[in-house]
Symmetry: C2
Subunit: 63 residues, 2 copies
Amino acid sequence: MCEANVYLIDKEGKEKLFLESVDKFVPQGNTIHMENIYGERKIIKADIIEMKLVDHRILIAEK
Amino acid sequence: MCEANVYLIDKEGKEKLFLESVDKFVPQGNTIHMENIYGERKIIKADIIEMKLVDHRILIAEK
């Protein structure tokens, strides 16, 4: 499967795993809505920093 | 490999394949920079509409 893990840089500049195995990823205004392959959903105010899909890695930064 | 195909909705509202097998995908300001697994790069002024990674599909809309 080709889901990706989403890592978040928080307001203190620390990087952590935010949601694993994300399938759907939808920016809406200031927020990003995401859902993983297990049906877990998260919404966060964040910017997309970069995606490296072959590495299954999405990096976002909290606003 | 877990790259995705990027589809673009152009200013006329038509959807077309913009770049296939994208690995790196980086929003920068108003633009999106992307590179596929063959080293081909494209930059476009666009918004991200949605990503469905399990379907290898990213949809963007031209600004």
